[in-house]
Symmetry: C2
Subunit: 284 residues, 2 copies
Amino acid sequence: MRREELIGFVGVDIGGQSTRVGIFDQRGRLKVISFPTEGNFRTECEAIVTAIKKLNVDRVRRIGVGSPGPLDWKKRLVYDTPNLPWRKVNFGLLEEMSGWSVLLDNDANVAGLGEATMGRGRGKRFIAGFTLGTGIGHFQVKDGRIYHGRLDVEAGHQILDPQGPKCNCGQRGCLEAFVSAVAIERRYGKPPHLLNDPKAWKEIAYRLAQGLVNVAVHTSPDVLILTGGMLARGRLLFDPLRRYYEAMLKVYPPAYRPPVLAAQLGDKAGVVGAIVLAKVGHSD
Amino acid sequence: MRREELIGFVGVDIGGQSTRVGIFDQRGRLKVISFPTEGNFRTECEAIVTAIKKLNVDRVRRIGVGSPGPLDWKKRLVYDTPNLPWRKVNFGLLEEMSGWSVLLDNDANVAGLGEATMGRGRGKRFIAGFTLGTGIGHFQVKDGRIYHGRLDVEAGHQILDPQGPKCNCGQRGCLEAFVSAVAIERRYGKPPHLLNDPKAWKEIAYRLAQGLVNVAVHTSPDVLILTGGMLARGRLLFDPLRRYYEAMLKVYPPAYRPPVLAAQLGDKAGVVGAIVLAKVGHSD
C-alpha cells in the first residue's frame, strides 16, 4: 500500500498510559500527536477529536481505532479491561461526536495490520504473528485485512503443555503462560528487559518456537512477524529462537517454511495499523 | 446448500483402494459408482469418464476431485504419495479427455467441505476439524469454501510436545504422532478398531483434546468436526475427549467455545465434498 492512498485516514492507538493519534500528511510523512489516556471516556473522545483537528487534515475520511480488548469489533464495544480506566464503552460515541465514521479492533490485530501492510510484511499476502508484551497478542492478516473467526483468534493461548503453568485466562500451559513479560518475571524473578541469563532466554525461545511452528501449520503464512517491547533483547532472544524454530518445523518443504522476522515499525505499528484499518475496513 | 443446486456437479473421491464417483440426481438422491483405483493414471481417468456416463447426468457442469496429497490444487498436480500407484500426475488430463473442467483438492479438505456444507456443519459459517485415520488430516472451511494458506493448513502436525514421539513428517511430538492409527498401533500394539483399553483411549483423547483446543484458538470456528474410521469407537473416544476438551479450553466465553462434533456423512463425506467443490470452486 502506498502512503498517498492513506491520506485523510486517521489512526488512533489507545494504550493504558497514552493515546496516539496519527495521519500520513500530503508528503507521506507520519504525523502523530499523543496525550495521556483520559479516565473519562467522553473526555477521551473529545481529546481524540481535538487531536485530529490539530493534525490539520484537509478532509477526514474515516477513523480507525486500536484498543486493548476484550472488545467486540462489530459493535465497537470495549468491555472491562484491566489496562483501561473505562467500563464497557462504545466507540459509536466518537462517531456521534465527530461526525466521522469509526472502525475498532484490538491492539494486537491493529499492530499486526500495520506491520503486515506498511512494515515487515509489506508485499506479502498471508502474515501471522505475535505481540510479545504483558500478554501475548496474536494476529493474522490475509490479503491486507485482519482475519477474525467467530471471535478473535487467540493463538497466544494455544496449549503448549496441558500440565504447564497456570495462565491468567484460566487455562494451563498456554504460550502466554511461558513467554509473556508477566510469566517471565514470575519464573525468573526479573522482567524481560533486566533478564540477562542466556539459559533463561533459551527456555523462553524454546516455547516461543513451538508456538510459532503451531501458527505456521494452522495458517501456512508467507512470514511470521514478532513485535513488542521484548524484541529489544535482540539476539539473546532471536538466536536460540531461530535455532529451535528451524529444528522443530519440518512438515512443509524448506521453501515454504515461513521465516520468523522482527517487526520494523516499533511502537508506531499500532497507529499505522489503525490508519490502514480506517482505509481498508474489516473483511466482514 | 440445497441438493438441487448441486445437480450436474460431479464428485470424485480417490482412495488407495477404490475410487468413488457421485452425483445428486434430480430427486436430490446421492448416486455413487465405485471401482478399484487403477494403477495407470490414464486408465483411471478413462474409468472416471465411463462412470460419469453411467451416472447418466443430463449436463455435466464441472468435476471436483479429492485425492490423497501431497498435491498442488492450483496446478492440479498430485505428487508422489505412498497411498496411490501414480507418480506426479496432473488432473488436467481428465479435463482434456472429458471436455469438462476439473477442480482438485486433498482428501481431508474435501471431506471437511462435505461435512461443513452438507453434513454436521450445515448452516455454520466457520468449520474446522480433523480426519482421524492412518494420518491426521486437517481442514478449515470458511463461508462454504476450503481455506488454504500459502500451502495447505496442516494442524495434524502441530507440536504438542517437542520431545514427544517422532512423526513421519520429520518433526517430533506432532498430534499425528500421538493419535493417528499408525501411532496408536505403534504405541499400544493394536490398531484403533481392536484397542479396547479405556486407559489407552484416555491418553489418546487427552492429546486430541489439546490439538482441538489449539485449532479453536487459531481459527475461532463455530464448530469442530471429527471424521474418519476411528469415530466408530464412539464413547471410548468421545467420553474422555469431551471431558478433557472442556477442562482445557477456557480462554473464550462458554458460548463461544466450539463444540466437538462427530461427522454425519461417514464414508460419503469425500464424494459429497467433491461435488460441493465442483459447485463452489476454490476461494482463490
